[in-house]
Point group: C2
Chain length 340, copies 2
DNA sequence: TTGTAGGCGTTATCAT
DNA sequence: ATGATAACGCCTACAA
C-alpha cells in the first residue's frame, strides 16, 4: 500500500500549528508570520503537497468541468467546434466532458443525465437530429447549470444560442447559381427536426422567389443524412423528365453521397449539373468531386463563441447576477467559391 | 434566488428521523422499517431528491471520470477510437474527459496536469508525435491513477498498452506489392519519436530483405505529417533517376498529401506508381485516388480494448489487488485490398 | 430498527 | 499572527 497523500492537516501536525494557519500560509494570506509562512511552504514543497481539488470543488460547489454534447465528433464540423471550445476552456482552467449523441435522442438524454450527475458547471450542446422535445433540459435548471446551444439549436427564443444565419446564406447560394445561369435548382434538405433545415428551406424559397421564378417543390427533397436516403433523394430528382441542372445539398457529407450517386448514374458532375453545399470542410479538398461552392459556417468560431458565452453565464451565476437577456449570437456564413 | 437542493439532511428533518436512517432507506438497506423506508422514499421522490455525486465522489475518492488524451480527434482513426472508449464507458457509468494534444508535447503535459487536478480515475492516451520523454506520467503514480496507452505507445515494457502489430502488417504490405510485381518500393515513414514508425520501418526492411532484395535507403523518406513535409518527401523520391513504382505511406492522411503531389506532377497514380497506406479510413472511399490497399488498424476495437483494460485496472485498485503483469495487447492488423 | 458521531480536505468565521 | 470550529453532503461504525 502507498503511504497516503499529504494534506494540510498532516503539515499542521508536523509543524505544530493549526490547519487554518497552514491553509492561510499556502494561499499567501497577508497577516501571517513570515517565518511560519516559509516553514509551511517549505514543508509543503518537500512533501510534494498538492491541494485536493475534489475537496475544494466540493466545498465551492463547482467542478471546473463543462459538458459538451455533439452528434458525432468524426464530422470535421464538430471536431473543429470542439477545438474552439477546448482552446478557450484550457485558458480558463476548465476541462471538457465529452459525449456523443450519435444523433440519437435517447442517447442524448442519457449523456445529459450523466453530465448532470457529474454536476458540470455548464453544458454546450448541438442537438441530435431526432430532438424535437426539450423537457430533459429543464432538469438542469434545478441545478442552475447554464446551457448554450450551438449550430443545431432549438426553435425558440428563451435559450442561449450560437449559430449561422443560414437563411441569408442560402439566398446567397441561390443567387450565385442564378448568376451562373442555373434555373432548375434542386435542394436536398436535412431532417425536419433540425431547425436549420427550416432556415435553409426558407432561404431557398425566398431566394428562388426573389428571382421571380415559381418554386417547384418537385425540386425539393429530403435526406435523413444516411447514404441510402441521399441516394434515394437523388433518384427522385433525376428520374423526372425535367431534371435539375444544379443541386444544393444539406452539407458536405450529403454532397459526397449525392455525387457518388451521380457518378454511378453517369451524370456529368459539375458539367451537366453543378453541385454546391454547406460547411466547406477541409476534407473536400481531397475528394474527387468537391462542391463548386460551399457555405463556410466557421465551426471553430462557433465553438469559441459558445464557450465564451458559457463562461459569461457561469461568472454571472457565481456572482449571483441575473442576466437580463438571452444570448442570440448569429455568425455570418460565407460562400466560398475558390474551387477549380 | 432558487430554493436550494434537497439533501438527506432536509428529508431527515422533515420526517423527524436521523440522516443515517434516510441514507439507509434510500439505499434499500435490509434492516430498516418498511414504513419508514417508504415514507422516506416517497418524500425523496416528491422533493426530487438526487444524491450529490460530488459529495459521494469526494468521500469515496472516486470520480467515475476517465481522461482521454489524443493528438487530434478530427482524424477519423482517433474519433473512432473515442467511440469505442465512450461506448464502453457509458455501460460502466463512466464519463470521459477529453483533451487534445494537437501533437504538441507541452500541451500534452498541460492536459495531463488538468486531468490530475480533476482526479480522474484513469487515463487513456495516444502520445503526441513529439513525446519522447515520459516523466510527466510518473506524477500520476502518486495518485495511483492507472494509464493505458494505445496506438502511439511508449517504447518500453513496463506500461499497459494496446496497439497493432505493424511490423507484421508492413511485411504483409511488402509481400502484397511484391506479388503484384513491384520491386522498387518506396516508404514514407512518420516521425522518429513515434514508436510505431520504428515498427513500420522494421517491417519494411524485413519484408524487403525477405525477398532477397537489397534495401535501398534512398527509397525511405520521412514526413512530420504536415502536407509540406510529405510533398518534400515525394519530391526526394521522384527526382531521382530511378524513381519507385510503389509507395507505402505512413497513414491515409499522408497518402492524400502524397497523391496530391503526384497529381500535381503528373505521375499516373496507381498506374505508373501504386500507392498503399495504413489505417483504412472511411473517408478514403470518397477521395479521387484512394490507396489500392490500406492496413486496417481497428481503432474502435483499440479504444474498446483500452477501456476494458482500464476498467480492469481500476477494479483491481479498488479491491486493493495488485496486478502481476503489464497488459500488452497486440491487435492484428489486416490489409484491406477491396479498392477498385 | 434507528440514532449518534466522526470523518473525508478545505476554507471561512469567529475568537484569542 | 494564530487557533478552534463549523460547514459542505454523504456514509458508516458503533451505540442504543
Amino acid at each position: 500500500m502507498e503511504n497516503k497523500l499529504p494534506t494540510i492537516k498532516e503539515i499542521a501536525k508536523r509543524l505544530n500549528v493549526s490547519v487554518s494557519t497552514v491553509s492561510r500560509a499556502l494561499s499567501d494570506h497577508p497577516r501571517i508570520g513570515l517565518r511560519t509562512k516559509t516553514r509551511v511552504q517549505e514543508l509543503a514543497k518537500e512533501l510534494n503537497y498538492e491541494p485536493n481539488s475534489q475537496a475544494i470543488f466540493f466545498k465551492q460547489k463547482k467542478t471546473y468541468v463543462i459538458g459538451v454534447i455533439l452528434p458525432y465528433i468524426r464530422e470535421e464540423f464538430f471536431s473543429e467546434a470542439i477545438r474552439g471550445i477546448e482552446t478557450l476552456a484550457l485558458e480558463h482552467d476548465y476541462t471538457i466532458l465529452l459525449g456523443q449523441s450519435f444523433d440519437d435522442f435517447e442517447r442524448e438524454k442519457k449523456v445529459l443525465d450523466a453530465f448532470k450527475k457529474q454536476r458540470v458547471d455548464g453544458v454546450i450542446i448541438s442537438l441530435s437530429k431526432q430532438t424535437n422535445e426539450y423537457t430533459h433540459f429543464e432538469s438542469l435548471e434545478k441545478y442552475e447549470i447554464p446551457i448554450v446551444y450551438f449550430d443545431r439549436v432549438p426553435p425558440f427564443k428563451q435559450v442561449h444560442k450560437v449559430y449561422c444565419d443560414l437563411r441569408k446564406g442560402t439566398i446567397e447560394m441561390v443567387n450565385w447559381l442564378f448568376n451562373k445561369g442555373h434555373r432548375r435548382i434542386a435542394f436536398i434538405n436535412g431532417p425536419d427536426k433540425i431547425h436549420a433545415s427550416k432556415e435553409r428551406l426558407d432561404g431557398y424559397i425566398d431566394g428562388i422567389s426573389g428571382k421571380k421564378i415559381k418554386v417547384d417543390m418537385q425540386l425539393v427533397e429530403r435526406t435523413d443524412l444516411t447514404k441510402e436516403s441521399t441516394h434515394k433523394a437523388m433518384e427522385n430528382l433525376f428520374k423526372t423528365k425535367n431534371p435539375p441542372n444544379a443541386v444544393i445539398t444539406f452539407n458536405d457529407y450529403v454532397h459526397l453521397d449525392a455525387v457518388q450517386y451521380a457518378k454511378q448514374h453517369h451524370i456529368k458532375i459539375n458539367k451537366e449539373v453543378l453541385f454546391i453545399s454547406y460547411a466547406n470542410l477541409p476534407v473536400t479538398s481531397y475528394v474527387a468531386h468537391p462542391p463548386m461552392a460551399s457555405l463556410e459556417q466557421y465551426p471553430f468560431r462557433q465553438g469559441e463563441k459558445s464557450m465564451e458565452i458559457l463562461m459569461e453565464l457561469i461568472k454571472a451565476k457565481n456572482e449571483k447576477r441575473t442576466l437580463k437577456a438571452w444570448f442570440d449570437e448569429k455568425i455570418p456564413a460565407t460562400l466560398i467559391t475558390t474551387r477549380s
